[in-house]
Amino acid sequence: MSQKKSLLWLTFRMPLAIGIMTAIGLFSALLGDGRWDAMAWTGLAIPAVICVQALLRR
């Protein structure tokens, strides 16, 4: 991997992982209740918690 590419990967791997978790969350609750809902809450809680934490930290 070239240096430029690896830098891009380092920058975006976390946002990408969070994005995929959010997408799984958004979609899973369309498929069912119970376990599917819980999966959706997890997926959506990840971005929410990261941001709220960053805002509140002083």
Partner: protein, 364 residues
Amino acid sequence: MKSSNLRRWSFIHTWTSLVCTLFLLLLALTGLPLIFHHEIDALLGDAPSFPTLAAGTPHLDLQQLVHAAQIHRPNDVVQYFGWDADEPNGVMTIMAATAGTEPNSSHTFMLDARTGQALEMPSANGGFMMLMLRLHVDMYAGLPGKLLLAFMGILFVLAIISGTVLYAPFMRRQPFATVRRHKSRRLRWLDLHNLIGVVTLTWALVVGVTGVVNACADLLIAAWRTDALNVLLEPYRDAPPLTERAPATRLLEIAESVAPGMAPDFIAFPGTRFSSEHHYAVFLKGATHLTSHLLTPVLIDASTLKITATLKRPWYMDVMGLSTPLHFGDYGGRPMQILWAVLDGLTVVVLASGVYLWWVRRRQ
């Protein structure tokens, strides 16, 4: 990134954002109470309350319900009957002066399917929640208002894409989620803007794009009418206007006979924009979780009660069906509503910090 490229993306990000920010703030703020509209209705006493009857009390048939609606509002005609899994004993009823009256001039209420008693739903016809809804949907400007908001949604999506491109040159020198707190207020908010923006990106994109689809619903419905309905209605073109209408009694059984296992979502009475002058249209929804958002219309001749056609759904009607839950966040219980509200609030933070960053930079 070359500096000329950086400037170009920066320009795109600044202006797509600035143009849509005020509208997006309006959408985010009015959307917040809308996420909880069921709960707010219940709290304000606006939700219809059904009397307690013995369990298993039989339901009236549809024609009896039409009759009950007609007695409740003698000067109006029934446009739609709708069903909701949360209110098994209720039939949502929409009436207006004529079948073709536009939705904002209609009157919505609930019929108790067991007794035919009319239960008012004040928030569906006016008041605070209706104000929020109209500001959110069309700013009281009808189709032009919806299309303007759709355009703002497209700018929002462009702002998100250009913002992601800019994330790399700004953030690559630091570990993920670093916020430089103590250097300057501007740096702190720059880092927060970048972090919250990139982390909420998927949610904001989905809500943005589905919002644009919902705003274009009128156009999609019009396209569907031209596409699917006009061909089927060709034989009816010279038919005399309907004077005597067959009773609605058995509409659901007739529709379900060609689509077993599906459940009713709503019935459009003859003359509305979801039916034709000569047809009842029964919209059935699928039985599984996913397909419950996808509707299959069955056209039933309003004088003979013969089925004219079961319509195939064009792809854009399916997109529209799935866009509704994905925009409203009402498909995953209370925790999902709360997370939706938090993410909505975070979007406000991104919008406001964006304006702040632009303002500070401009003054330098």
